[in-house]
């Protein structure tokens, strides 16, 4: 079994993945409380997310025999925390190739391999952050990661080209130059996210409306980006439970099937300054394999969740995943075309696609994409706050800069 031939390009490539379509289902989802600075730490936030995901699935902690999280991004709800929190001591298959960002899409691939080889049957993927509480300790906020790169510390930071809002403002301006993308088009993405957050009970900005007029009147942060183009900084987290399709049928909630997975990378890593195609993301390498594995195309997608640290990153991924031609992300995003209801009753085949129906990193919570997958599962079960009518196919686009990933999910 193999997926479609990996995409090749001179500035990056796809990861070759085995075909795991239809082998794994997501059977439980849980969100911790999302907030600004709360005094909680990431481990206890992760524990709350896992408790809620297991309750959603109708499973007990001892049913879990696999745990996925990301190491090296701060303390996480790891195997020691799991056993301490739940009072268990059974053997756990553990993978550090889990968590959020791109791994929120590729964790089901790790789960599929573990299930195939008999290493685990029920796996939990968890991610949590306490960056709102820890903000004061970090160089440039989440920029701390980039400040550790000595080439950046010596060639970019001394000239003020730092941190992320500056990188993506520079990318946005070049995109505007090359394709005519406008502030109002970036604003349409921020406004759609905010409208979804306003209708979503767990969104940090659920009580703060934002119109396009208000967006355009807001001051610049890193021109051409406004604060509203940039993600929140949050405490929060989420988790989801995976198992094989055979086991999934007996559980509390209808299983959401994993239909396709893709992953790609940029040769220049997170050195955006040197990325050959400056106004693109590695989704150009990731998405084709996921579409092929799932046997669907962008036209089949009912609900989309894109990693949106900045409006321009969501816009570029819309283009790079094939929802529109390269350079046409701006016109594609205009008006209400990304709203869950299209600004009115949405019918299949109408233009646009519902994007980040929970509010995304921009307006829901900065939990790095793990809540994007939770939202898609709720949409496909038909239990979302901003429900897209008869959603059959949901897709997550993950992004780190160096890498991108694609996860295609199907209705039970």
């Amino acid at each position: 079994m193999s997926a479609a031939p990996p995409a090749r390009g001179r500035w990056g490539a796809a990861t070759e993945l085995a075909d795991v379509s239809g082998e794994v289902a997501i059977v439980g989802v849980g969100e911790a409380d999302h907030s600004g600075a709360s005094g909680r730490d990431a481990v206890e936030i992760g524990a709350q997310a896992v408790e809620r995901a297991l309750a959603d699935a109708g499973l007990e902690p001892r049913d879990v025999d696999g745990l996925l999280y990301r190491s090296g991004i701060g303390p996480q709800f790891d195997e020691r925390a799991f056993h301490r929190h739940f009072g268990t001591d059974h053997e756990l298959f553990v993978s550090h190739e889990g968590g959020a960002m791109t791994w929120a899409a590729t964790a089901p691939y790790v789960a599929a391999q573990a299930i195939r080889s008999g290493k685990a049957r029920v796996l939990v993927n968890v991610f949590s952050v306490d960056w709102a509480s820890r903000r004061g300790q970090m160089t440039g906020g989440p920029g701390a990661f980039h400040a550790q790169e000595r080439m950046k510390a010596n060639l970019e930071m001394p000239f003020g080209w730092f941190p992320q809002p500056v990188y993506f403002a520079t990318i946005a301006r070049r995109h505007m130059h090359e394709y005519g993308t406008s502030a109002a088009q970036l604003g349409a993405i921020a406004v759609a996210a905010r409208r979804h957050a306003n209708g979503h009970p767990t969104a940090v900005l659920r009580e703060k409306p934002l119109s396009l007029e208000q967006y355009l009147a807001r001051p610049m942060l890193a021109d051409p980006l406004r604060v509203e183009d940039c993600c929140l900084i949050s405490d929060g987290g989420a988790a989801y439970v995976m198992t094989g399709l055979d086991r999934a049928a007996d559980l509390a909630k209808p299983p959401v099937r994993v239909l396709g997975i893709g992953e790609g990378h940029s040769d220049s890593g997170t050195f955006w300054s040197q990325q050959a195609d400056f106004t693109a993301t590695p989704q150009v390498f990731s998405a084709p394999g996921a579409w092929a594995m799932a046997g669907v195309t962008p036209a089949d997608v009912d609900v989309l969740a894109l990693y949106d640290p900045f409006t321009i990153v969501a816009l570029m991924q819309l283009e790079d995943m094939g929802f529109c031609k390269k350079g046409e992300g701006g016109p594609f995003a205009e008006g209400a075309s990304l709203h869950f209801d299209g600004g009115g009753p949405r019918s299949r085949g109408s233009s646009g696609v519902p994007l980040n129906t929970h509010g995304g990193l921009l307006s829901h919570a900065y939990v790095l994409g793990i809540a994007h997958v939770v939202e898609l599962v709720r949409q496909l079960r038909g239990e979302a706050a901003n429900q897209v009518p008869s959603a059959h196919i949901g897709v997550y686009g993950g992004y780190t800069g160096a890498t991108a990933s694609t996860l295609v999910l199907g209705r039970p």
Binding site: T139, M151, N154, L155, W161, P163, L221, A222, D223, D267
Partner: protein
């Protein structure tokens, strides 16, 4: 890593010593591989030919403004007193694939245009409350 991250470059760090030595001499020096291509950012092996050796060569110091941001609110503490300032990427005249991160100086940020000609000017880089300064290349529009 704390908010007291030292903002001045480490001019003694071997991979970039040639860059800062060039700036001290008023030259924009960049690493060029034996195959003729620039190796930017410096790395152990050439991405094109795989060779290891490279040398620091003087460039024209000229280029075009590839893109930029105007930072209107302090995002990084050492620059708090400089806002608003323009920072961006310059595409080198000799090879536009080479992009140099810089701060745009001696200009009205409202007059900046994508792909406009710019050139390097050398000045001491320093930060309030931080001892010392380092000669560094900034860029300014070419009139």
């Amino acid at each position: 890593m704390t908010s007291r991250h030292h903002p001045l470059p480490d001019v003694g760090w071997e991979p970039l010593a040639g860059f800062w030595a060039g700036a001290a001499a008023g030259e924009l020096r960049l690493p060029r591989c034996g195959c003729g291509g620039f190796r930017w950012y410096p790395r152990d092996r050439c991405r094109d030919c795989g060779a290891a050796p490279y040398e620091w060569v003087r460039t024209s110091g000229r280029g075009t403004l590839f893109s930029w941001a105007v930072v209107r609110r302090a995002l990084y503490e050492p620059f708090a007193t400089l806002v608003p300032y323009a920072t961006g990427l310059v595409a080198l005249a000799e090879d536009s694939r080479v992009r140099i991160a810089t701060r745009l100086v001696d200009c009205d940020v409202e007059t900046l245009r994508i792909d406009m000609p710019v050139h390097a000017v050398f000045a001491p880089l320093s930060f309030p409350g931080v001892d010392g300064s380092v000669p560094a290349p900034f860029f300014t529009p070419t009139r």
